[in-house]
């Protein structure tokens, strides 16, 4: 990649590390929870950058260039997260700790929003997390995309009531409520396994014998 003629940036790195440390110390005065979340999200940003993990590529590359490794990694991420969230949620329930999962109502706007989001992330070269990560990497393109994201978010916020009023909205469906925890987890893992098989098949189909 960009190996040639790179001067070491260790001084800058040291300065930046000190700046982060100061931020963390400052934040500790405010709230331990915020400090922990800040630390974890630093790790998230670092991990996204180091592994070049990109949701946009995971969706796009099989279609555009027949490359599926990242898609398979996304399936793996989901396959760990489903049972992981199930365990965390159940343990929290047993210990009577407050914890809410992300079960949102849906309607036509969920679908329309998803399609617009999909078009947008291919055009902008990254989804929301991808944009944040690439701003950190110094890409001018995603800084502009971020401005678009902010304007779009405002427009979206103010038009959501119209979508709800005109097309209705169904309450969120939490699969474990309907079929129970274990069947819900197993069913979703089976769907992921099927998607993984399709991905492998797609790769073989596009790249010849594989």
């Amino acid at each position: 990649m960009e190996k040639k003629a790179l001067t070491s940036q260790w001084k800058l790195n040291l300065g930046f590390s000190f700046f982060i440390l100061m931020l963390i110390v400052l934040l500790l005065q405010v709230s331990i929870q915020l400090t922990l979340l800040f630390a974890v999200s630093l790790a998230l940003g670092f991990t996204l950058q180091k592994s070049r993990f990109c949701f946009t590529s995971a969706f796009r590359d099989p279609l555009l260039v027949g490359y599926t490794t990242l898609t398979e990694a996304l399936i793996l991420l989901l396959a760990i997260s489903i049972p992981g969230f199930a365990i965390v949620s159940n343990v929290a329930g047993i210990l009577h700790l407050p914890l809410s999962l992300y079960v949102t109502p849906f309607g036509i706007h969920t679908f329309v929003g998803g399609i617009l989001f999909g078009i947008g992330m291919v055009m902008a070269g990254g989804c929301a997390s991808g944009i944040l990560m690439r701003i950190g990497e110094g890409f001018a393109m995603q800084m502009i995309a971020f401005a678009g994201l902010m304007i779009g978010a405002i427009l979206g916020k103010y038009s959501l009531p119209y979508w709800r009023a005109n097309f209705g909205e169904a309450p969120g469906i939490f699969l474990p409520d309907i079929i129970g925890w274990l069947p819900a987890v197993v069913l979703q893992l089976l769907i992921l396994f099927f998607l993984w098989k399709v991905t492998r098949w797609w790769k073989r189909k596009l790249n010849g014998v594989g």
Partner: protein, 163 residues
Amino acid sequence: MRNKVQIIYKGPWAYWVGAVVLAILNMIVLIVREMPWGITTNIEAWSVWLGSNMGLLHDEGITFKQLMLSDGTYLNMGVILGAFWGTLAASQARFRHMKNRKFVISALIGGLLMGYGARIASGCNIGLVLNGIASSSLSGWLFTIAVFIGVWLGSKILLRFLL
């Protein structure tokens, strides 16, 4: 051995390693925050605050202090700073210019569509694809199918107008 240590801070890591680490960190967010990681709700709040301070939007009563005490702010800021730290650790930090003018328009329109889509669907790839599905919610699966269709359409646009 030295090479292996170097890979940790220089990268790139294998995708599956990224997936496993992200899964663990995402679960830590769930435990600490008592709700899943999300990105665009906070971006929306900042945008509305900015818009109302510029006099463009009706004041929604969001204050700067509220935003600075919101966990979403630190989650988003952390991702940006963490990624910057990643490039710095590998001595690759620099400003990256755009190669082509038409990408300015593409980025702006793409960002707009994404922001709009995420806010009417109540989530992005993190909030709905990853954490909607991880929460065993039907909305997550529906949104994911729609995103896939959108990406397919977007790839057609990309091939036709941009590449």
